[in-house]
């Protein structure tokens, strides 16, 4: 008993990822057992632990030039590549060993000898404990057991089934790389490595989830990221105690700063170039196996309004588009509220001709404006939800029917005023201009609308005030959410409403990076001009 505990402690200090996993579970005594020298016993133990699972494949064979040794390979039948097993494991073992005429000094009951002499694969490791063996087996490895050995060899074979590297549907760009992460986290990390080919790029692995045992990676650039931030990320990830991480959203919800806030404090993306750009600003990315969505912390409010394309295109239109996004967010949250407040409480603020037009449109409408607005927004939410889940052809039908019924017929029938249709559709379109804040925008829209219906402009201002107070108090991994506006940072404002040219963005976000990683190599002296540098000026 003491020996088990002792070994477990030693083991866990060697591989803290496994240790983390084990601490969570109620320790199963059987699993922490070492492997036995007997092949039959080991196979029986595996079978027992997997509860006689039918996809467990066990193949026993003899090897050695005189077929003296007995071995077995054990794998989960659909997770391992059978061709590779045959070619790279079984064949060399069974026939390669024949070629070595004298094996007097080679003892194949020692798994090291087998690995060195007979198994021509790169990705293999020794396992000595039953639970280690099971973990590897369930992760898709092929286990090579040899009779008489207290250790086994776990060989990773084949490729995992995974999607090709496509352009992410949610983050399509006009200009910029069209690659996106896929569900295989190793591919995702490789994609980031291809962007940042520097030893500075650190990748740390963790395993989270008692049942799912999901591989989770922390990725950061060491010379830029604040060590305190990295430590905080580790700490928060360590705290997660859950059955399974099926998507990075699970992690997000466990590590958020303010789980009750409607504003997200963890950003996510499918694009490797975006992750690269963010970790180069000192942020930390968290990638989980099984999902293309990487998390990036800390998240600032202004990040929602920045797009990768802002940096890939020249700064002029990019700046205008950024302002358009800010404006869209304001429209999407305040549009219907402003309409209700103006038409119900502050009619004197509407220009006379417009007021007459609105009055004409509302002439036959039987509902109060607030109810009208709620009905329309709600109908739009239904349409959106129905359209998203359905297959494309059906989804289009829903869209068309909805547009005709809601936009045309309801106005014709005198249920909704035409101006309200315009307000709600403008709001709906605007809400998609800022994807990262669509959630908060939708919720705020309802809240502000209710406030406008109760107390008009006064209510809306009150709501805005509370929202602003909340935003100012919000933090994401220690970074103030509203940076660089509150607290004000002049250098940070260069990449706020207006995106200054790249050669002027010589400072990384001060609130995020480590204290000595503030300056980029790019700087104002890099302002392009034909007379600078040794360039050839002849045309």
């Amino acid at each position: 008993m003491f020996r088990y505990i002792f070994r477990r402690i030693r083991c866990s200090s060697l591989k803290n990822e496994n240790d983390r996993m084990k601490n969570g579970t109620a320790p199963e005594k059987k699993n922490s057992e070492p492997l036995l020298p007997s092949l039959e016993n080991n196979i029986r133990a595996i079978r027992e632990n997997l509860r006689g699972s039918s996809d467990l494949a066990v193949h026993e064979f003899n090897f050695g030039h005189d077929r003296r040794y007995r071995g077995a390979i054990v794998f989960i039948s659909d997770m391992a590549d059978k061709d590779e097993i045959n070619k790279n494991i079984l064949q060399p073992l069974m026939f390669g060993s024949l070629l070595i005429s004298s094996d007097a000094d080679i003892d194949y009951t020692k798994i090291d000898n087998v690995a060195r002499n007979l198994v021509p694969v790169t990705d293999s490791r020794k396992v000595a404990l039953l639970y280690e063996l099971l973990d590897s087996l369930l992760a898709g490895a092929v286990i090579l057991l040899v009779d008489g050995s207290k250790e086994a060899l776990a060989v990773r074979t084949g490729k995992r089934e995974s999607r090709s590297i496509d352009e992410p549907a949610t983050e399509a760009v006009v200009r910029g790389p069209r690659e996106g992460f896929n569900e295989n986290v190793n591919t995702s990390i490789a994609l980031i490595r291809q962007k940042i080919k520097s030893p500075d790029l650190c990748v740390e692995k963790l395993v989270i989830g008692e049942k799912s045992k999901t591989d989770v990676y922390i990725v950061y650039v060491k010379s830029v990221a604040d060590p305190k931030l990295i430590e905080e990320v580790r700490k928060r990830l360590d705290r997660i105690k859950t059955d399974a991480i099926l998507e990075s959203g699970y992690i997000e919800q466990f590590i958020e700063d303010d789980p009750w806030s409607i504003f997200p404090t963890v950003s996510n993306t499918e694009k490797p170039d975006k992750v690269a750009a963010k970790i180069l600003e000192g942020r930390v990315a968290i990638l989980a196996d099984g999902t293309p969505f990487a998390l990036v912390v800390p998240m600032l409010f202004i990040e929602s309004f920045q797009s990768v394309e802002d940096y890939y295109t020249r700064p002029f239109l990019a700046s205008i588009m950024r302002m358009v996004r800010f404006l869209s967010y304001i429209i999407s949250t305040l549009g219907p509220a402003a309409y209700v407040a103006l038409t119900v409480f502050h009619q004197e603020l509407i220009p006379t001709q417009l007021l007459i037009s609105i009055a004409e449109g509302r002439e036959r409408v039987p509902f109060p404006a607030i109810l009208e607005a709620f009905l329309m927004i709600f109908a739009f939410e239904i349409l959106r939800e129905a359209g998203v889940r359905l297959p494309k052809p059906v989804g289009q039908t829903v869209g068309i029917v909805g547009a005709i019924v809601l936009g045309e017929a309801s106005v014709q029938a005198g249920l909704i005023s035409p101006i309200m249709v315009i307000v709600v559709s403008a709001t709906a379109i605007a809400s998609f201009a800022v994807p990262a804040q669509t959630d908060s925008g939708t919720i705020l829209r309802y809240i502000f609308l209710a406030l406008a219906g109760i107390a008009g402009g006064f209510g809306v201002i009150l709501g805005l005030l509370v929202t602003l107070l909340h935003l100012v108090s919000l933090r994401s991994f220690g970074t103030p959410y509203l940076w660089p506006i509150a607290p004000l940072n002049i250098a940070g404002l260069r990449d706020f409403l207006i995106r200054m040219p790249l050669w002027m963005l010589s400072r990384r976000p001060q609130a995020i990076v480590r204290s000595d990683g503030n300056t980029r190599s790019q700087g104002p002296d890099l302002m392009p001009s034909p007379n600078k540098g040794g360039g050839n000026d002849t045309v």
Binding site: F345, Q347, E348, A359, G361, R362, V411
Partner: protein
């Protein structure tokens, strides 16, 4: 469980708050009677106030929705009611409209001639006091009854009130009148010494279709309408006040065969009062810039001597206009130029003596008018569109 119950109760309260509240003074647009113009007359029988409110008729206004529009109905509805005061009448009107009037968008207030002659001081109070009223509402005086003006259906505009607003707001093209709103009117009224103006409005009856137009301005003394100024007289006043924006000056051409028509491009004025040997003299210096917009003679006026002669003639016209206004004001015994205020500013002590019999002193003052007119442009033509007489 208790927590959940609390949340449910809270949500329920919130829903009830939205659904059941009377909406803190909110009013749906459907319930509004949007007033865009008001006319105030004296009722012939009782002598009370007859209020005519022009209300937008949403059903007939025929908006962009297409259906229901047109139908030949009027886009507006002139409702009237009689009351002891304007506010009384405005409340009495609810017996006809079913809703109280929404006057925030009132564009114009037209006073009937008999009301204006009686004095506007007592009526102005309501318009300044009511919080829904805008101080920028225009004031006009009808030559006849205000309700007739409200009934004259304009050709292009949908609403008579809007049409009248437009007539007044475009005063800059002629400088034959200028717009006066509630605030201006009240300020003038309160200052005491200077005269108060308001554009006149009338309906021409010469054709089968009634046209509303502005024939000049009404002049008030102590809130009572005492006379009218013609277009030229109004401009005479505006020259002195430096409020001329643009307009047309017509002078006979130097050869006497036609006319030169000039447009005012820019005008400035400077008035300096002087008391010398017991005489009160006002030195009025006017600088105007003109452009030659039209000529009906064959002689080319766009030459240096031609311009010189035309400029001189234009200066004469301006002088005539000012003098005409001055003569008119002497007739009315009313300081329409605001000379009294100017004198007050420069000669404080003397003014104290004159203040009380300024009306008597006013007709004795002298004007020293100096007009500096310059033609700055001859527009697109360098010589008249006529066969060359070999003049050059």
């Amino acid at each position: 469980m208790i927590l959940y119950k609390k949340i449910y109760v809270f949500i329920l309260c919130f829903i009830m708050l939205v659904a059941l509240s009377g909406c803190l003074g909110g009013r749906e647009i459907n319930d509004l009677e949007i007033v865009i113009g008001m006319g105030i007359d004296k009722d012939k029988d009782t002598g009370d106030i007859l209020l005519t409110a022009q209300i937008v008729n949403e059903k007939e206004a025929g908006g962009a929705s297409g259906e229901g529009g047109g139908g030949g109905g009027k886009a507006y509805w002139n409702v009237n009611s009689i009351g002891k005061s304007i506010f009384d009448a405005a409340r009495q009107i609810t017996h006809k409209t079913g809703n109280r009037l929404f006057v925030s968008h009132n564009q114009v207030v037209i006073f009937g001639h008999d009301v204006a002659a009686e004095g506007l001081q007592k009526h102005i109070d309501f318009f300044l006091r009511a919080h829904e009223m805008r101080p920028t509402t225009l004031i006009l005086v009808a030559e006849g009854r205000a309700s007739d003006i409200m009934d004259a259906k304009p050709e292009t505009e949908r609403f008579p009130a809007m049409n009248i607003t437009k007539l007044v707001k475009t005063y800059g093209f002629t400088s034959h009148l200028y717009k006066v709103n509630m605030k201006d009117f009240a300020t003038c009224l309160m200052s005491g010494t200077s005269a108060t103006f308001a554009p006149l409005v009338t309906v021409s009856q010469d054709r089968e279709n009634k046209d509303v137009f502005v024939p000049g301005m009404a002049v008030f003394k102590n809130g009572k309408m005492v006379g009218k100024l013609s277009h030229d007289e109004v401009r005479g006043v505006l020259w002195v006040l430096g409020k001329v924006e643009s307009g047309v000056v017509i002078v006979p051409s130097p050869d006497g065969k036609g006319k030169a028509v000039l447009e005012i491009v820019n005008a400035k004025s400077k008035v300096k009062p002087e008391i010398k040997d017991g005489r009160i003299i006002f030195h009025i210096k006017i600088e105007e810039e003109l452009s030659l917009s039209e000529q009906t003679t064959r002689e080319n006026l766009a030459t240096v001597p031609g311009f010189g002669k035309v400029q001189e003639a234009a200066g004469k016209v301006v002088r005539q206009e000012i003098m005409a206004a001055f003569e008119r004001s002497k007739e009315l015994r009313l300081d329409i130029f605001g000379f009294g205020e100017m004198l007050h500013k420069k000669y404080k002590n003397e003014w104290k003596i004159m203040e009380h019999n300024w009306d008597d002193i006013y007709p004795t003052i002298e004007l020293d008018i100096h007009v500096d007119s310059r033609i700055v442009s001859n527009d697109l033509l360098r010589r008249p569109a006529s066969p060359d007489e070999g003049g050059e």
